[in-house]
Symmetry: C2
Subunit: 488 residues, 2 copies
C-alpha cells in the first residue's frame, strides 16, 4: 500500500533559518558586549517579588511570535530580574563565571541535542566525557583508577555516592528496601558540623533518616575532629548501629576549611565505611601545583565530587562524581528494560547505568573546551590569583581597627566582620547584616553571610574570572563606608 | 591598610572577546547549516567503540589553545561520533528535536550563567519558571492549582514525586529513616508492567526496595488493569503492607498505551495513595484540542511529569514536575543552612526547597522561547501532524502482506514487525533484529525495538520537528528492502 505523498511545503516544520541566524548572531554579540562590560549592571537584581511576573502575559500566545521580539523582551523584562553571577564583584555563596569556551560548548551542545544516555545514542558524548574527566583527574594530580561521570549538581553526585555506599553494604537494600526488615540495623553517615546541606538532603532522600547523619564537632579552625569521629563510630557500634559512610569536606561552604582527610580515611577504613570526599568548590585548586596537597589522602577514598561549574570557569551545570568503585554504582542503579537493550552493550560504557537519570545532556563538550582554552597553566594561574586576592583582602581586614577575620583563609574565601570594641554579639550581628544589605543594595558588589559558632560573619567569595584587585578594593571601601553609616 | 594596586593588565582574566565573537558566530552558522540540512549526516553514528577516545590526546594541554582549533576538532573528531537526534529520520526511543528558539534560549542561559536556586539569586529565573509552567499547564487544558518546577529528567521528577509521597505518609521518614523501625510496614508502589524504568530507579533510590514496586498486569492493549490494581492493593493490605503510591502512565515507552487514569485515581484515593502520573512523552499532545482527553482524570492526581525535551521541541534537558501538593515536596526536602538564609525568604518561592539540587540552571528561558515562537496553534499543528504521520505509517504496515502492527497507535509511535506466515516467534525475533540493524547501519534512518508479551517488536517513534511524509516513506521502503534481504 502506498499513500499519496503530501508536498513537503505542507509540513509544519521548524521556524525560518534566517530568523534564527539573525537572532542568534545578535545574542552572541549581546553576550560578548555583556561580558566585556559586566559592571554596567547591578550585581544583585533590584527586582521586587512579582515584578517579572507582572510584566509577563498571564497566558501563552495563540500564534507564534518572532524571535526578535523575544530578544527585546529578554533585555526589557528578564535582564532587570537577573542577579549577575558574571559580575566581577559577585562575592556571595561561591562565586563562579561563564567563560567564552564554556558558552561556545553550551551553544554547540544545544545545537546537537545529543543524549549521552547510552554509548550508541552518541558515542562521542560518552567517550568525550570519559576522556575529559580523565584529563581533569590528571590536572588535579590524582592517580589513575578513578571513574568519572558528569551530573548536574554536587547534590546529585553526593546522592549517587551515598546510594552506592548503601548498596555496597551487601544488605540487598536495592531489592528489599529498608522498611519492615528485622535484619537491618540503623545505617549511620558521618560528616563535620560544617558539611554542606547536600549531604543532609542525600541522607534524607535515601531514606536513611536525617537523625542518622551524625555531625562531628569541628576544631577551632572548623575542621572535623578525627578523634570525635572515632568516638561517634564507636558509640554507634556499641548501640548496634551500622556505620555506612563518612563524608569529609575539602573546602567547606562556610569557611573553606579542610577536613583532615588522611586521618579520616584511616578511621573510616578501620570500620569498613565508604569515604565520599566533598570537594565541590575547592577541588580545582589542586590544579595549582603548590596547592596540590589539598587532596592529600583522597586516594584512599571511594568517591569524590568536584564541580567545574564552581571554580573551574564552566557554566552551570557541571558537577563531576569520581569513584574508584564504579561497580558499586552500577549495582545500585543499573537496570535494562528491553527497549534500551543494544547489541554492543557489553563492550561499551552506558552512562545511564551509573545513576537515576536516563537522559544526559552533552555536558562534557563545554568542560573539554574550557580545559583546552585555558590549559593547565592558565587554569592554575587564575586560581592562584584568586587565592592571592583573598589573602590581600584578608590583610586589609586584619590591619583595620574594628574589623576582624573570623576564620583562616586557606583558599579564595574570606570570613570577616565588623566588630567594634565592646559591642555585644547581638549588636555585631545586626550591624553586619545591615552593612551587608547596604552594600548589596548599592549594586556594585554582592556578599553573603554565615554563622560560625553562633557568630554572624560576612563572606567574601572570590571565584569569578573577571575579578581583579580593583574590585576587592572597591568592595572594601564600600564595606567601611557602610560600617561608618551603620555605626554612626 | 592599603595595598599597592596591581595594574589591571596583570589580571589573568577571560580570553579574548574577539576570539569568542568569531568562534561563536561560526558556531551559530554551523548550527544553522546543520539544521537546514540534517540529512547530510548518518543518523546513527558509525563510530566504533574507542574511535573518539583514540583521536583525542590522552592528557590535557599545558597551555591554552585557540577556540578556532576546538571548532575544527569538533567537526573532525566529535561530529562523526554523534548520533543525530536532530535527523528527521531519527525514529528510535522517543524522537525529539532542538529548535531555533530552544537553542537561542540555551545560548542566553549559558551567557548569563544565572542560578535559580533561590529567588534572590536571579528573581527572573524563578518567576519565569513559574509563569512559563503556568502557560504550559493552560496549554494542556489543566485547571489552576498545579505548582510546577523544572528538573533535568523525568527520572528526577518521578523520584521527587515519590519522595513527597513517602513523606506525606506522616511517618517521619525524613527524620527517622526506614531501617530498624518496628512501627514501619513495607511501603508499596504500583505501576503497570509497561511503566518506565525511571519508576523502578526511583523506588530503588528511595530505599523502598525494588520488590515493593508492584507491576500490575496490563490488558491486551497494554493498559494497566484497574481491577488488578485493586486486587494487588487489597492483597498487600491483608499482608500488612502500606500502599503508598500509584504511578499510572499516559503514553508508555514501549507502545504509548494510556492507562485508565480516572479509574486508577478513584481506586488509589480509596486507599489514600499518592497518584503520580507519568506523561513525560505524551503530555504535550494535550495541547492539541482533539487530544485533550488524554489527560482525563489527571486533575485527581497529586503529581505529574511532562517532558518538554521530548515532544515539545525544547533541547534537553527540560522535564517538568507538577504537583498539587507542593507542601509535601517542601516537607520532604526543604532545609535552610545559615549560609542560605535571606531576608525575604518568606515572601518568595525558593525553588531549592522542592528537591535535592541546590544549583538550578536557568532552563525556563528556552521553554518560554519555544512556547512563544510556536504559539498554542503552532505547537498543536506540529504535534497533530506527527500523529497523522504515525497513522499513515501504520496504514502502510497494516496493508502490507507479511507485516503486522503489534499495538494500537494512539499517538505518534508505531509498533510493528515483519512476521511472514508460518515463521516461528524466534525466527521473527531474529529477522526483525536483523532488519533493524540493516536499516540502522545504512544511516538514513534509526529505529529501536521492544518486546510486547515476549514478541520482538520494532518501534517507529515520530517526534522530530523536521520529519515529513518523505521520511516515513523512505524508512518504510528501507524496511521492506531489508526484510527481503533478510528473508531471502
Amino acid at each position: 500500500m502506498t499513500t499519496v505523498p503530501t508536498p513537503q511545503s505542507s509540513r509544519p516544520g521548524d521556524l525560518s533559518p534566517e530568523e534564527f541566524r539573525a537572532a542568534a548572531h545578535a545574542a552572541v554579540d549581546w553576550i560578548a558586549d555583556y561580558l566585556e562590560h559586566p559592571e554596567r549592571v547591578p550585581v544583585r537584581s533590584r527586582a521586587r517579588p512579582g515584578d517579572v511576573t507582572s510584566a509577563l502575559p498571564a497566558s501563552p500566545p495563540k500564534h507564534g511570535e518572532p524571535l526578535a521580539d523575544m530578544m527585546a523582551d529578554f533585555e526589557r523584562i528578564i535582564l532587570p530580574g537577573i542577579t549577575h553571577w558574571n559580575h566581577p564583584s559577585f562575592f556571595a555563596y561561591f562565586a563562579n563565571s561563564s567563560t567564552y569556551p564554556g558558552i561556545l560548548g553550551e551553544l554547540l551542545t544545544a545545537g546537537l541535542n545529543a543524549n549521552a544516555m547510552m554509548w550508541i545514542t552518541s558515542p562521542a558524548a560518552t567517550e568525550l566525557e570519559q576522556v575529559t574527566l580523565d584529563w581533569l583527574r590528571q590536572l588535579m594530580g590524582l592517580q589513575d583508577g578513578w571513574f568519572g561521570q558528569i551530573t548536574d549538581t554536587a547534590s546529585v553526585s553526593t546522592f549517587y555516592a551515598l546510594a552506592a555506599a548503601r548498596e555496597a553494604l551487601g544488605l540487598d537494600i536495592r531489592a528489599r528496601g529498608m522498611a519492615a526488615r528485622h535484619d537491618l540495623p540503623t545505617l549511620r553517615v558521618y560528616c563535620s558540623e560544617h558539611a554542606h546541606s547536600s549531604i543532609d538532603k542525600a541522607v534524607i532522600a535515601l531514606g536513611l533518616g536525617h537523625d542518622n547523619l551524625i555531625k562531628i564537632p569541628a576544631d577551632e579552625h572548623f575542621r572535623m575532629r578525627p578523634e570525635a569521629l572515632r568516638e561517634a563510630i564507636a558509640t554507634d557500634l556499641a548501640l548496634g548501629h551500622l556505620p555506612m559512610a563518612v563524608v569529609p569536606c575539602i573546602g567547606t561552604t562556610s569557611t573553606t576549611s579542610v577536613d583532615p582527610v588522611p586521618e579520616i580515611v584511616r578511621i573510616a577504613k578501620e570500620f569498613d565505611c565508604w569515604v565520599h570526599v566533598d570537594t565541590a568548590y575547592a577541588g580545582p585548586a589542586a590544579i595549582v601545583p603548590e596547592l596540590r596537597y589539598l587532596l592529600d589522602g583522597v586516594e584512599g577514598a571511594d568517591s569524590m565530587v568536584v564541580n567545574p561549574h564552581k571554580w573551574l570557569f564552566t557554566p552551570v551545570d557541571c558537577s563531576v562524581l569520581y569513584t574508584k568503585r564504579p561497580d558499586a554504582l552500577r549495582q545500585a542503579f543499573a537496570l535494562l528494560p528491553e527497549y534500551l537493550v543494544t547489541k554492543d552493550q557489553d563492550q561499551v560504557v552506558n552512562l545511564m547505568d551509573y545513576g537515576i537519570q536516563l537522559g544526559r545532556r552533552f555536558r562534557a563538550l563545554k568542560l573539554w573546551m574550557v580545559l583546552r582554552a585555558f590549559g593547565a597553566d592558565g587554569l592554575a594561574e587564575r586560581i592562584r590569583f584568586h587565592c592571592e586576592l583573598a589573602r590581600d583582602f584578608a590583610g586589609m581586614v586584619h590591619f583595620e581597627g574594628g574589623w576582624e577575620l573570623t576564620a583562616p583563609v586557606p583558599l579564595s574565601l574570606v570570613c570577616f566582620r565588623y566588630a567594634p570594641a565592646h559591642a555585644s554579639e547581638d549588636a555585631i550581628a545586626s550591624m553586619n547584616a545591615a552593612i551587608m544589605e547596604r552594600v548589596n543594595a548599592e549594586g556594585r558588589a554582592y556578599l553573603s553571610h554565615t554563622k560560625l559558632n553562633g557568630k554572624y560573619t560576612l563572606r567574601l567569595a572570590i571565584g569569578n574570572i573577571r575579578t581583579d584587585r580593583s574590585h576587592i578594593e572597591q568592595v572594601w571601601s564600600e564595606l567601611r563606608a557602610a560600617a561608618t553609616a551603620v555605626a554612626g
